[in-house]
């Protein structure tokens, strides 16, 4: 790859001045830009920790388990928001991941070739909708629908569970989780669809040749082959759901205590920062930054894990010899 740089000093001296300056200049400039990207990451970690420092000193690690957020008594804790973040983003993941797999099966195996690209584009467009607009829609359309239709129905059938107990409310964990599902689905789908498309055609045809139905082929060839992509894509979607501040702040209602019922108002790390940061000062602002430190750790961890899983899957593509094709055949027998 070093073809453009001349090692021979005589030849190098014969290059004109612009080339002698241009090469190191572009190399240096672009290297600087790359270093800047790394510096921004470090800067973010440093600056957010710096802002949170008074709260870190005041509350220590006990902050994480304190179920309180009281500006009057100056007692702040992350537990209500950690709970809200975990509950809403895992519900979103539990809904979005299977949905994305189903959509990807449709887009790669079922849909007529002509409409694959348009449908995929439409689903990508879902990811392009600004989250503040999803939040607006959540407040004025989805929230009232949840309160009047979905929540009473869930309560009627599953009301004996504490998570479906309590009065219906337009602003709730559940509404936030659904908005996050809408956000995460196109992201997860685009990863899974791409992975599904890399499944070798001869493996699929072998499965069909053994008499598998389309679903049996998908279950025994496409899904096992794509497992790292499915897991990695889902975790990427989870990362997006964990970090979303605005849409969640709009629909979750802003309660500052843990509540078992999904119909109840609540808060998440990101949403609480977004709604309170502007109007707080002193220890409260530092505590919000502390929530930010926790959120950042969460988000980075999730992203690193997802990338590693997706990357591993790519490397595994090279030797897919361990794929158990005999499973497709045995399925044809009565169980």
């Amino acid at each position: 790859m070093e073809a453009g740089t001349l090692r021979n000093p005589v030849l190098r001296a014969r290059r004109n001045l612009t080339d002698r300056i241009g090469d190191p200049l572009l190399r240096g400039l672009s290297g600087l830009a790359a270093a800047l990207a790394a510096a921004v990451i470090l800067g973010i970690v440093y600056e957010v920790t710096q802002l949170a420092w008074p709260a870190i000193q005041e509350f220590g690690l006990g902050f994480i388990t304190t179920n309180d957020w009281n500006p009057v008594t100056k007692r702040f804790g992350a537990a209500p928001f950690l709970y809200g973040t975990v509950v809403t983003s895992f519900i979103a993941l539990a809904l979005a991941a299977p949905l994305s797999v189903a959509i990807s099966i449709y887009l790669t195996e079922l849909a007529p070739r002509r409409i694959r690209r348009p449908v995929a584009t439409l689903i990508d467009m879902l990811a392009a909708i600004p989250t503040v607009i999803l939040g607006l829609w959540g407040i004025l359309v989805l929230g009232p629908f949840m309160r009047d239709t979905i929540q009473p129905a869930l309560h009627g059938v599953l009301g004996f569970l504490p998570i479906f107990d309590g009065d219906p409310s337009a602003f709730s964990y559940l509404t936030a989780a659904l908005i996050l599902t809408i956000m995460a689905t196109p992201i997860i789908t685009s990863v899974i669809r791409e992975v599904f498309e890399t499944v070798p055609g001869d493996l699929k045809e072998a499965s069909y040749a053994l008499g598998a139905t389309r679903w049996e082929m998908v279950r025994q060839v496409v899904l096992p082959y794509s497992r790292p992509g499915i897991v990695g894509g889902s975790i990427l979607g989870l990362g997006r759901a964990i970090g979303e501040a605005i849409a969640v702040a709009q629909v979750i209602g802003g309660a500052t205590l843990i509540n078992a019922s999904l119909f109840h108002t609540g808060g998440t790390l990101a949403a609480h920062i977004a709604s309170q940061f502007q109007n707080s000062a002193g220890l409260q602002k530092a505590s919000l930054a502390y929530l930010g430190v926790i959120l950042l750790a969460f988000a980075v961890l999730v992203n690193v894990v997802a990338r590693i899983i997706v990357q591993r899957g790519r490397i595994k593509d090279v030797d897919s010899g361990d794929l158990d094709l005999s499973a497709a055949a045995t399925q044809a027998q009565p169980s």
Partner: protein
Amino acid sequence: MSADPHTLLLDRGNLERRRRVNRAVEAVSIAAAVLAVAVLVIVVGSVFLKGVDALSWHFLTTPTALFGEAGGGISNAIIGSAIIVGIAAAMAIPVGILVAIHTTEFAPPQISHPVRFVLDILNGVPTIITGIFVFGLMVEGDKQSAFAASVALAIVMLPIVARTAQEVLALVPGSLKEAAHALGIARWRMTVRITIPTAAGGLITGSLLAVARVAGETAPIILLSSIVGQGNLTDPGEALASIPYFIFQASESPKPEAHTEAWAAALVLIAFVLALNVVARAFYARSRNRMGA
């Protein structure tokens, strides 16, 4: 389980059940795709139906009224958004493309892989955290400014621009580069005259998608450019209004008139973002054709 291959092909009588399962799964897949497209249609449809009535020339060309009064417009928010996003793009697009040039043209794998990783991590940082970072950097002890918001949005854009640019630059045919090398052209000249023009369509795509992404970004703006004065302001040194923040504020209001204005502003924003996406895809298609990929 190892079975005699011949017995596998016999119909053992459960074919009907297997076909039923297959049909059920196909139906679920189709339903999932229909659901996703339906949600898009419902959201965009809601915005259009509820926003189109409030949308008028007056609404687009009048600044927001004093707090609590109806009858204002969003001209100040449109101007503010254009300035904030414009400055962010001017910072992030050149830097992002430079990062991509470094990893694809200059850096050895020991460097380009970590840089890629850093970009992915940066892409995963929640935008509210980016907001806190820039708040600590530029606003604390000083005042809010549109420029601070631009810096935050530029940080959000950077990994998007750089990652798409990396992918596009990697698609530039090796034969073109080798031809340039064979002619003894310096590396920087080859990059500027051959690699970048060949990849231009894709680079524009990545940049437009990044602009579309941050045009609707609200979280950093709440922290960095939300306390704004009256009228059509243009100085990036002070806080400026923006469309996403206008929508956010109006959506939190209990008044129905505010909601109507929020829908109308949402219609403006969604039309801009979706149009940008469509244009970006067109550039990408053209670029792929050009590179024969």
